[in-house]
Amino acid sequence: MSAITLNNITKTYNKGTVLAVDDISFSVEKGELFGLIGPDGAGKSSIFRILTTLLIPDKGTASVVGFDVVKDFQKIRGIVGYMPGRFSLYQDLTVEENLNFFATVFGTTVKENYDQIKDIYIMLEPFKDRRAGKLSGGMKQKLALCCALIHKPEVLFLDEPTTGVDVVSRKEFWEMLARLKAQGITIMVSTSYMDEASLCDRIALMIGGKILSLDTPAKIIEAYPEKLYAIKSPNMHKLLRDMRTNDEILTCYASGEYIHLSFKNTTKENEGSLKKFLEEKGETDLVFKETIPTVEDCFIRLLGHTDGNSN
């Protein structure tokens, strides 16, 4: 039995004028770390809220651990852990008070389930008398995760847990998720950071309420049809502008310190003719190499954007 199943879920807002989730179906296996990847407004949070029984879908059915999200919502509420997109703890209560409060609300105690949160709580312990509102972004997320975990949930829903968190804390956070996964907890996580996608077992790339692609990160990358190249020069801005005038190029966009590009027809002459074209335009010191696509490249390709600065 799948831990999470969605069948043709559609959700609209403002009396049907805003389409947030458009006929989505997928399922998440037990013990899987599943990622919803996409920009803001892709419909990720709506899916989370439907699965956590906070919203009722317009169409379709969904279930969590076999319970229907509409009919059996009370049962689901006891066995899932949910961490909303915004920091949602009491800012005027201390770390310890927040944890104790949520433990009691979920009908347990911190002592009883301490082993569940021990790894994470150790990092918070020095600040246990500090008010939650005064914690750093990374600490807040750790506390929120502790509070979502305190009742040993079967399924964990984390909506953009690393947004607004520094790089080190993000890395730590994903290490924690890996440990929780090892304990057998099913985790559904959303993020708009593409580099985090490869840390999931499977990902769904979402935009405009639709899933563009759903598979393991490796298979999604494997499925990238063209060869991808990276190029750089001292004047990147001019280089990008020049490349856009070349009609052999299918797509080109800035990605980190390079410009990623692919050709309409992959042939052996591609490299030579492009270099010649660019030298005629006055480009010098070109670095040109083949590169392996990332999830971000796949995403940009799926979006059908032919240019633009993505990050």
Binding site: I56, F73, Q74, R86, T104
Partner: protein
Amino acid sequence: MKQFFSFIRKEFSHVFRDRKTLLMLFGVPVVQIVLFGFALTNEIKNSNIVIVDNAKDMASQQIITKLASTQYFKINKALLSSSQIDDAFKSGDIKLAIVFPENFYNDLLHTNKAQIQIIADASDPNTGNTLTNYVTSVVADYQAQLNATIKAPEQINLDTRMLYNPDLKGAPNFVPGVIAMVMLLVCVMMTSISIVREKELGTMEVLLVSPFKPIYVILAKAVPYLVLSLINLTVILLLSYFALDLPIRGSLILLYAESILYIVTCLALGLLVSTGAKSQYGAMTISLVGMMLPTLMLSGYMFPIENMPLVLRILSNIVPAKWFYIIIKDVMLKGLDITYIWKETLILFGMAMFFLMLSLRNFKTRLE
């Protein structure tokens, strides 16, 4: 049950850690009582009046002595011309002037008719009226004494008694009003804001996705404010008893029981506001404009309801504060028991149930 108490404890922490709220909770009633009790009073004490005694005879002297023996007037005696009196009024030095004509006692004895002129500053009609009434009653009193010896054939003796508040103090009127208002402020505004704050901060989202039943969220929110309101009520009663010498004539238990009924009504209203409001700001606006204004205007505390146009009189019936104001006045000032106020109590109870049902029905167990 453990969950419930934990929630209540959390709610108290919120209140006690928010200094501004706390100040508003306990500062407002104290400030209002002090303000109304000592500063914004419409009682008349030590008003400056001038007596122009052109007669200087036995009768005029006796009347002046009587006037001086009350605490209402500060008497200046001077022989002023009518234009000088005018000037004194214009400069605001005096509120009232009494003029005895020459041969006052003589006229009284021999022609059976004498005149006293009373001139009052009516730019504030209430004060002018009250002062004039005091003077007239003193003069009437003197006349009654005279008649007692003279024995006029027919006479009507007016025996006026101001019940429940013989000294015409302001406190008996405004203390119940302040209580009704403060309860409303605390219960409607604080409750609605505290629930909407959970929505705004996103904590409601986490609470909803928990086995804790939404109805308990509501109840746990209401309990601390019920307790705080009762503390507030006690503070107001103590203040008015010790600082304003306002006696509590009725049963204290009945007073508290009725107050709890009113508080529950207000809490239900607060919950109702919170189900409709999207932001703390919205909740505050609805509470202030939608609740405070009608309470001030239509409870009978500031303006007598009997004098209002029919539409407003009908409208005033749906203001819970109106009924509570009647109840609390009856219990506090008149010392009446439940048999006299069961009707108002029943109306208030009906309102409490109605609002409670409505707000529980409207409370969303989901986000929309």
